[in-house]
Assembly symmetry: C2
Homo-oligomer: 254 residues x 2
């Protein structure tokens, strides 16, 4: 026996549709990812070599490489020169992404609700002006929301946005998240700078969140940028730590 293990991809009936507008490399990476997801490709198994896989699918090697590389970038596969490409053992579940609290909660089946406390326009103070790169004193949107799950307060979300990007309808704000509103308005989110910390609740914060004054709160301050580099949102959020924590997976930069 020259090989103790058989290439597990041969039993997978991978195939690509050349008439589809979906890129070939993407079709392949999706099929491989699905196979890993539902266990057809088990952790640790060695994929067959790229050349042979390319030949079997009628693709060129660079195309197959592009498909595999995208899964390596997601942390699902590991390449070893001289060895081969292997399915990673550990479960990679949630890579850290720029998602909204609302979407996270909804995806977790938590049925989030939002109560808009403030929705107005104010002159930007120094901190806000600096974060949004607007002149100090110029007008910006100010939105303050209470996020609830199961009818109980979970977080208080205080946000500032430049004027003119978005029309901030209170009804919309109560039925969805801010990021979804921005994406719907044609804003392409690009990056965000975040700081996560903790501190004691003030009396006003405790009142709003149903905690005691001085109770520990989890805090997050964030500035979000679109793909032109404009700051499109600055927010300071406070979370009840018994009801919320930040959970995510990191990949090592190679």
């Amino acid at each position: 026996m020259p090989k103790p293990d058989v290439d597990p991809t041969v039993t997978l009936d991978l195939s690509v549709d050349r008439s589809s507008p979906v890129p070939l490399y993407f079709q392949l990476s999706q099929q491989l990812e699905a196979a890993i997801e539902h266990g057809a490709l088990t952790p640790g198994s060695l994929l067959g070599n790229e050349i042979e896989l390319a030949g079997r699918l009628g693709l060129s090697r660079p195309t197959v490489r592009q498909a595999i590389q995208s899964l390596v970038d997601k942390g699902l596969l590991v390449r070893r020169r001289g060895v081969g490409t292997q399915v990673v053992h550990s479960q990679v579940k949630r890579p850290l992404e720029l998602s909204s609290l609302y979407d996270d909660l909804e995806a977790a089946g938590q049925r989030p609700a939002t109560k808009v406390l403030v929705n107005t326009v104010v002159p930007a103070g120094a901190e806000i002006a600096a974060a949004l790169s607007v002149p100090e004193g110029s007008e910006v949107h100010h939105v303050e929301r209470l996020r609830l799950t199961h009818g109980e307060p979970m977080a208080c979300l205080c946000n500032y946005l430049p004027l003119g990007l978005l029309d901030l309808d209170t009804g919309h704000l109560e039925s969805t998240g801010l990021y979804r509103l921005m994406r719907g308005a044609g804003i392409t989110l690009h990056s965000a700078r975040q700081a996560i910390g903790a501190r004691a609740a003030t009396a006003a914060e405790a009142e709003r969140l149903g905690e005691e004054t001085g109770a520990p709160l989890l805090t997050m301050a964030r500035t979000t940028y679109d793909d032109t580099g404009r700051a499109v949102e600055y927010g300071t959020h406070t979370y009840r730590p018994a009801r919320y924590s930040f959970e995510f997976q990191l990949l090592v930069r190679s």
Copy 2:
């Protein structure tokens, strides 16, 4: 005038060394990144098209694309079909990476110090056994360290590691970080799962960190995996929120 702006890369004297073992695409991406870093390529400026750049450098287009793509992945460039490749306006400084607290502090010039409180071997409890994927009750390393900056406590780091991976010398632990020790032992870190939260300090924690009982603490629990999928470390850390917060930049998954 057909073009209001001139391709800013022409004045950059980009060049590649074909005798170098460094990949050509990497040489190019480094030069472009350096040019962005020190302002030779200003935010918003449009790079010349890939074909022309390839011709000028004597490279093929895929090689140039690979260089550019790596900077797009880092968030430094944005590509627009039909338009061109642009330098992002906002400053991308610290992408979130799996770095050690020790290295972070050292890079920030904080001169970190470590005091090893516990360095022993214990049977794994249920939580630790689950995190490290070892049988409950099997022996694991247990290390507890106090991290100080400027002579003041900043965090308490409680870690568990499987036996046999590393020799945990107290002297080494006090002079560097755990991740650097692991990398030095030939372990290839691959990913980590983290949860960041907050809670009130217990009396013992308050004593160690120089806080009051019930004071807010920032907490982090993390399991780190190597590239074979083995869990190589599980840790629960507590931070003094006045002295530490998690700061990082996120890129939107495309």
